[in-house]
């Protein structure tokens, strides 16, 4: 049979329960896969084989004792390295947190451990999740498994690359402006940003608090929905976490789209979108219509200014969120003659250029005399974006668009031009400003054999509709390709 590292989560879960494989065997296969792929990809910052094997053995023992944690019991998964893990170094991809070992677990980590999931390690990311290519990591870039000269997207590039290549069966990422969906798109896997507040942010190292949301990556829509179901729910440690009942998530995967109203976002279908990406998406709109959906074009006028608003709001919040990294209590400390000098030197050396740029941008946007023109104005645009979505959802059930304007771009291509990098999030940012759920599903490869992602957006707390359409898109696309790195015959021994 095929390599256990290539199983989907639901296949692996069935194998474990049928006695065909143990969690330890699956975990060992994934560790072996990582042993081959990591030298090409650098998806992980921390990879703890021993801890993973111990967790797998514990999961096998628990299951034997009748304690079944559900679908993710014994499944090896990866965490983006901006989620705190007790006793395991957590750096957020930054030099300033080099060597920092948190004394507590993020809520999502606790929820995974409660279900006996096996945590393999911590994946690479753009420093403090600021970036769209994972090139901003202080520990070196992650490479795209489809073409190692290209970026995997970002900021959750490590998680996306690991799932794509089989060095994890699933993973968690975080999405502030597209950081789950865009790398999912560029790596050819499924990634979902849930409704803001549905998953606790406690223990997620904050980038922009009002936009950040943790979400799942997997190779199938079903596995992605199932992982989301493990981590959702109110958390008393997060005042912004949703207090109501958890909405249905995976309840309509088999329903199909007949009768559903699907809106194609007008502003995200033409200019600025790569021709092959646009064409692949158009083909999918037609297939959805053929499957019984009512597909219409819908306008979101404010989405054109959303990118500018995002690049004021997110840096403004970040400028305060990252103020705590000062060398006083943890992480890097660069000594100085005075406390102020120590703090300034620590920050100057500890932060990379993109993080420094955003802190400066955010500090400026909040400054007296500029607040109204920048931060205040950006908040107004945010309100307009919400209104646009509300108006659109009067007419349609979900909105669709490409996830990324292009497929994976070459490493180094955009690092010198921040604005071209920022443009990578043009399709994804509006959902963060609105706080709505949104996901990316792979639908095709372009002529360079790079994956194209299809974005589905739904109203807040309507994850059920998002996954209903996603499951149909998955069936219609019949996207079964895997990167060559994941197929054993071409992997170097």
């Amino acid at each position: 049979m095929s390599d256990l590292a290539d199983l989907t989560v639901s296949e692996a879960a069935s194998s474990i329960r049928r006695g065909e494989a143990t969690s330890l065997e699956i975990t060992n296969a994934v560790i072996a896969r990582a042993g081959v792929t990591e030298s090409h990809l650098h998806a992980y910052l921390t990879f703890d084989q021993d801890a993973a094997r111990a967790a797998a053995q514990a999961a096998d023992a628990a299951l034997a004792a009748g304690d079944d944690g559900g679908l993710f019991h014994g499944i090896p998964i990866a965490l983006k390295d901006n989620m705190t893990t007790r006793g395991t170094e957590t750096t957020a991809g930054s030099k300033i947190l080099s060597g920092y070992v948190p004394p507590y677990n993020a809520t999502v980590v606790r929820r995974l451990q409660d279900r006996h999931a096996v945590i393999l390690g911590k994946t690479n990311l753009d420093e403090f999740a600021m970036g769209s290519s994972t090139e901003n990591s202080a520990y070196g870039p992650t490479r795209n498994p489809w073409d190692t000269d290209r970026v995997p997207g970002g900021s959750s590039g490590g998680s996306a690359a690991a799932v794509a290549v089989g060095s994890a069966l699933a993973a968690l990422g975080s999405d502030t402006g597209g950081s789950i969906r865009q790398p999912a798109s560029l790596c050819g896997i499924v990634g979902v940003k849930p409704t803001y507040g549905l998953v606790s942010r406690y223990g997620l190292i904050a980038f922009a608090s009002s936009l950040d949301q943790i979400g799942p990556f997997a190779r199938t829509v079903g596995d992605t929905a199932a992982l989301l179901e493990v981590i959702v729910g109110h958390d008393i440690h997060d005042a912004t976490s949703y207090r109501g009942d958890v909405p249905p998530i995976s309840t309509a995967l088999e329903t199909g789209v007949a009768g559903m109203r699907i809106g194609v976002v007008k502003e995200l279908s033409g200019e600025g979108i790569d021709d092959e990406v646009a064409a692949a998406c158009r083909a999918m709109y037609e297939k959805l219509a053929a499957a019984g959906a009512e597909v219409t074009e819908v306008s979101l006028p404010a989405s054109e200014t959303a990118l500018s608003a995002y690049y004021l709001i997110a840096p403004a919040e970040a400028s305060a969120n990252l103020a705590r990294f000062d060398g006083v209590r943890y992480g890097l400390r660069v000594d100085g003659d005075t406390t102020e000098e120590m703090m300034a030197r620590t920050r100057a050396e500890g932060f990379g250029p993109e993080v420094a740029r955003r802190i400066l941008l955010g500090t400026y946007a909040l400054s007296a005399g500029y607040y109204d023109a920048f931060y205040g104005q950006a908040q107004k645009v945010r309100t307009l974006v919400r209104r646009d979505f509300a108006a659109a959802y009067e007419k349609v059930d979900v909105l669709v668009s490409p996830t990324s304007p292009t497929t994976a771009f070459p490493i180094g291509e955009r690092t010198a031009d921040p604005l071209s990098m920022y443009y990578a999030d043009v399709c994804t940012i509006a959902s963060n400003l609105a706080g709505d759920p949104s996901g990316s599903i792979p639908i095709a490869l372009d002529s360079a054999a790079l994956p194209i992602g299809f974005q589905i957006m739904a109203p807040a707390l309507h994850e059920e509709q998002l996954f209903r359409v996603a499951a149909e898109v998955e069936r219609l696309a019949e996207f079964r390709q895997r990167p060559e790195l994941a197929t054993s015959e071409v992997r170097p021994a």
């Binding site: 957590t90 947190l97 406690y202 922009a208 997060d238 305060a320 103020a323 705590r324 007296a368």
Partner: protein, 482 residues
């Protein structure tokens, strides 16, 4: 300062004595070992998030309600950004344009005048940690090392901002004192200056009567009500002298030095930071609805001013009423004794005079004595019946406070009971009159002056236990009958 008027506003910080801190579950405990009441949240560790403490919010609403503020329905928290080593996140969670309470007032009395001081706002913030600098002066500049204690980090702090309605140092002191009383009466904080659970900063400017406001200076570091009054008086004089000599007042923060009795410049406005306030995205707007607001107002205790007026209206001296209300527990005991039927004026005088003196002399508190309302009632009845002289009553009261027993038992045991039985005293009166025929003659002639002498003789003969009123009456009867 003829022709000059001072304009004073006071910012008060009150540390709330809640069970737990403002945004985490750590206990609020003073004097704990450094860095033992801390967690990821109040240490500002990466990923930790604040969750508001409802008990603290309830308490700030009580404070606002006591000042008859409007309780704001959709209150918000903001981040105030500045770098300081004892501020773990390098921003403080505080309130900005939508505080919990706005537009209230506090009535005070000073220099024999009633003054209404407006309360602009009452808002909530988190306290910082403490820096301990390893240097001779204890200041950061020449420190070789600094130690940080985050036990105080995140303790709920309420800021009460007054309108610039205060005109004299005496009014400022009266405002601060009354504010402390109000806060204590609410049971939200002990509001002690010495322990730092309350802090007053004063904004002071001067102007010639009728002019616009002058440039103000903020004065900090006053550790007692007396130093608040002194610092303000000093600052007013300094500013007047400055202007009269042709200079100008600089807008700045000034530090009061208790030893030298002077203020000195800490930092000027130009150096003051831009705090880049913005809405705290980790917290959601707090919805204080009408039901909640009504409940807070309905749950307020009787406030000190109202209580003073009520107690004074029972016939108790105003000063005595003020003393009891200031202490709180004395007024509670007073109310209890009066509810048992005790004579208010008598009990009020004992509590505000004898009991206060006893507590001070013995450096103890009312709770540590054995005095009960029932004791006061029994004592008042004995005095009313004439069984105890007012002098003997004070002696008995001191013994009750010391835990010797009930007033009647003490009076009997120490033979302090007064003889007011006419039958028992008649013989003594007869004997004294017989010994002083010339004095008796004077009385009979209508000269009643010597009656006091005769009463004194009877008192001496009975060892002071006779009721002088009864004796006097007996002598008068004998004289007119004879």
């Amino acid at each position: 300062m003829s022709g000059w008027e001072a304009v004073i506003g006071i910012e008060t910080h009150v540390e709330l004595q809640t069970e737990s801190k403002m945004f985490c579950g750590c206990p609020v405990r003073f004097g704990a070992e450094p860095n033992t009441t801390v967690c990821p949240v109040c240490l500002g560790l990466p990923g930790a998030l604040p969750v508001p403490n409802e008990e603290a919010i309830e308490r700030i609403l009580r404070i606002g309600a006591a000042f008859e503020c409007t309780l704001v329905e959709g209150s918000l928290f903001h981040r105030k950004n500045y770098f300081y080593p004892d501020l773990p996140k390098n921003y403080q969670i505080t309130q900005y344009d939508l505080p919990f309470c706005i537009d209230g007032h506090l009535d005070i009395e000073a220099d024999g005048e009633e003054v209404r001081v407006g309360i602009t706002r009452v808002h909530m913030e988190e306290d910082t940690g403490k820096s301990i600098h390893g240097s001779e002066t204890g200041r950061i500049h020449d420190a070789e090392y600094s130690l940080l204690d985050f036990n105080r980090s995140g303790v709920p702090l309420v800021e009460i901002v007054s309108e610039p309605d205060i005109r004299t140092p005496e009014q400022a002191r009266a405002y601060a004192a009354e504010l402390q009383r109000v806060v204590r009466s609410l049971g939200v904080s002990d509001a002690r200056l010495e322990e730092g659970s309350v802090r007053f900063d004063a904004n002071i400017s001067v102007r010639r009567a009728g002019d616009d406001f002058g440039t103000r200076a903020e004065v900090k570091n006053m550790n007692s009500l007396r130093s608040l009054q002194r610092a303000i008086a000093y600052e007013i004089d300094r500013q007047i002298a400055l202007i009269e000599s042709g200079s100008e007042v600089v807008q700045e923060t000034r530090h009061w030095d208790e030893g030298s009795g002077k203020t000195s410049s800490m930092r000027s406005k130009e150096e003051s930071e831009d705090y880049r306030y913005f809405q705290e995205p980790d917290l959601v707007p707090l919805h204080v609805d009408q039901t909640w607001r009504d409940r807070v107002f309905a749950g307020l205790p009787e406030l000190p001013a109202v209580r003073r007026h009520r107690i004074a209206a029972t016939g108790v001296d105003r000063q005595a009423a003020a003393v009891m209300v200031e202490a709180g527990d004395l007024a509670d005991l007073f109310d209890e004794a009066v509810s048992l039927g005790s004579e208010a004026r008598t009990v009020g005088n004992w509590l505000s005079g004898d009991v206060v003196a006893y507590l001070r002399r013995n450096e103890t508190t009312l709770a540590d004595t054995h005095l009960q309302a029932e004791h006061l009632q029994e004592l008042a009845v004995m005095v009313g019946e004439g069984a105890l002289s007012s002098t003997a009553a004070k002696d008995v009261l001191a013994r009750v406070l010391a835990g010797e027993g009930s007033p009647r038992a003490i009076a009997e045991q120490h033979d302090l009971l007064q003889i007011s039985d006419t039958g028992a005293l008649e013989a003594e009166v007869e004997a004294v009159l017989a010994d002083n025929p010339d004095v008796l003659a004077k009385l009979q002639s209508g000269d009643l002056k010597p009656i006091g002498f005769l009463v004194g003789q009877v008192m001496r003969a009975t060892g002071g236990k006779a009721d002088p009123k009864v004796v006097s009456e007996l002598i008068r009867n004998k004289a007119t009958a004879g």
